[in-house]
Amino acid sequence: MPPRSRADGLVLGNRSLSRFDVCIVGSGAGGSTAAWILAAAGLDVCVLESGPLTYQHLDDPKREPLALHSNDEIKYGVRGFIDQLAAVEPRTFRQHDGQDARVHGDVNVLPKLVGGAFGHADCAVPRFAPVDFRLKSAVEELIAATPGLAVPGFGADAASARFADWPISYDDLEPYYAEVEAVYGVHGTTGDNPFAPRRSTPYPLPPGKGMYLGHVLSDGARRTSFLGEPLHPHVYPSAIATRPYDGRPACVECGQCAGYGCPSNAKGSPAVTTLRRALLSGHCQLRAEAHVTGLTANGRVVTGVDYVDADGRRQRVEPGVVILAASPVESARLCLLSGDLGNSSGQVGRNLMFHLQTNANGFLPNRVHGHRGHAVSHGLTDFRGIEPGGETLRVFSTPDGPRLYLGGICEFVAPQWQVITEDGYVYATELPPGFGARSGLALKNAMRGAPLGQHLLGIIMQAEDAPQATNRVDLDPTVRDVFGLPVPRITYAIHEFERQARLFYTPFLRRVIENAGAPQSFVNPCEGLTGDPPTSRHVLGTLRMGADPATSVTDADGRFHDLDNLYACDGSVFTTGSGYNPTLTILAVAARIAHRLAGTAPGAA
């Protein structure tokens, strides 16, 4: 009997399935949510995940999954255990057409593993606001009603951006928001954030105790006046269990959270929530380390999915329906690698959005101990640029006339005291020569004092990117990956729309830092200045949803306009990016797409 291959050992769930109704490419936030709903509806689902499996017993009904994740800075921050490794899967980056793209070690790359990137950070899951889904109409209505209102990307400047309304509304999505908040176990507080949208259900879980730095910055925010009233800090909604929940333990606030996998499964990674449910249903099979290299199609029908398995062998699945959920960069790249599939509009890969982040910081004289707590416990939404309730946009009176500034939700943050990568590396290898401590007692004493790891605190504000046709992923003309395929080439530049929001809110961000007790504040230089790509980990667009096949790639149900059985259900379908952590909306949109495909209603799974 031949020895069992590696790939055979990486097949989970119902191993006897060989014919599939649906094949999902990617097991992250979108893919696992869809797998759960489709398998619950009785459809046989194959999930192909390119990344490794980091759990034991994930498909064992008798035992809780055992995470192979840990509080280990070498494993994560230093050696990239959950990273898409640039050495074998490089990407190239440039800011503008006409420039040569260069290989860059981190083109806003997302973690790649069974369960996807969601568990990589703090599982922050605010909802979008109702106005986000009709942003273009809302701005145009305001421009018509407000003399002197100028907005970059609108009016005379409309050609510079591709704003559009979503083909679905907040009300369409609300039941799915409620459904995914329940299955992933979201904690939050109702009523502490006047800008939060209406909701049909309470948060499933109450908040934890909150991090010290979260309380310090909340106090600073309450002491800061904005438009004549104090700011409104609030608990940051997160898919982290604060009580025993659905077989998961309560989070112990270990502190090695952002950038790490969760050792206890308190974080609602799709692996231990929706994907596990799908695997236990009898209707789902997961193949890990299965790297999809292309799709084949005949007319309007996708006929097969080709992949390379964990033994390096070429394999093929021929399902009834294919769903792309490999993240916006990789989902769009797969279409381009498959003979420009679904691209009669020429829009595949375009309107890539990253969220321009502004990071204001200061040094607290006493220790912030950001190594205790789940990375982000508090934040504020005042700088999103909407009226309370989020139904309408806020018009600001400025000396130049009325203006809109669509910043975003703010996270109160600090280092997690990762002593190697957040302290040592910075002092010895990242600060310019003469400004840091390269070696010797100066370095050792800096490590002892932890001037960053124990004293830096900050605010990260998201800002809505104007969608731009030129911001896109296409295939690099020369650089190849380990599979011999052209790598994604990212072209991305900032638009005046988000630049103005950053400029407007920066002084207020700094004031919060200073009111929280930092003697001085400073602003982290923008990535664009050094020619580097953003590191937001918010990656959206590229297969945008819309009603018009000439200007969008997918329809309101996530189905490609050009194909009868090809769907996308990750961040790629976002029409606009809004200004919040996008994952909850990815989950809700994926849930809606899957339910409509299966013919079921939210709550049925």
Partner: protein, 344 residues
Amino acid sequence: MIRLRFPTVPASVTPRPALPQALRWDAPPVTAAALLSRRQFLAAAGVVLAAAALPWTGVRRAVAAARGRFFTGHERRTLGALCDRIIPPDGDPGGAALGAARYIEGLLTALDRSRRRVYAGGPYSGRQPFGDPRDGTPSRRRPRNAFRRFLPLSRLQEIAWRAELFGSAGVPEMAAIDASLGSVKEGLRDKYRAALAKVDQVSRATSGARFVDLDPAGQDVVLLLLDQGAFAPDPRRNGDTWPTLLVRHTLEGCFGPPEYGGNRKGAGWRTIGYEGDSQPLGYAIYSAAIDDYVERPDHPLSTPDPDEIGPGGTIVPNPLPPDAQRIQSSILTLTAPFGGGGLC
């Protein structure tokens, strides 16, 4: 998590000793006679240059010293001395005593056994107990150390790490990438072997003795020189030079989890007051008795550290060491031009 960025600035105005031109990585090709003397020197230093230049082969693997060992005795001593200048001993142990060189040798030999030693296991190290969910106190129950059981690599991780350690030229799966980039990736093993020879070359040429034979002050001078153009920027490693890799690896070896071979018995963490991996106890324990969290009074989650709380609950910060203050001042200086948020 905050990822700070710094603008590039002109080279430091601080006067530094200059590296002789002939010792620069981009020095003009040496003459045959000079090459001969260099070879003789390297042989004397115990380095077999020809072997170092060979690709890794099964034969060479077979004749290599015991598994888990890569360096010659002299190389290992040189590396230990370098680690001790990067994190020097004072009242607390330095890089050598913390096992930083052992960590680096562990990295370079991580693929020598069938059980790869790249990623430690999980979920827990056993350094902390479980919390007691009944009342929210630390329990006496301790998990076993799962860090010790290193994880198998995925197919792509294996390819990436073989290229990282042995160089991409010997990894067939890297051929397409290498061809498209027009370069091969140098392996860390070859890099370290060549670099340690270069350290002695610079040391002899500028101080008249091998690195290990210099006193700490003399070693510090050589260490400075090594940063003055002795090593080429590596285009396949973001342009980093070997001294940058060495400094990073030394920090990892001093302050990473002990299962990787450094941070001996956690002494590196104690030196800087770091509490280490905190799971599964963490900093807030769920109590079923009150259906809420209980914090650890000595390691609070939501309030200031107890040693910085003065009379009446006021905050009394512990003074920051001058070397740490200087880092903060540097960052305020470097980022000052960007404070308006408009440069973007």
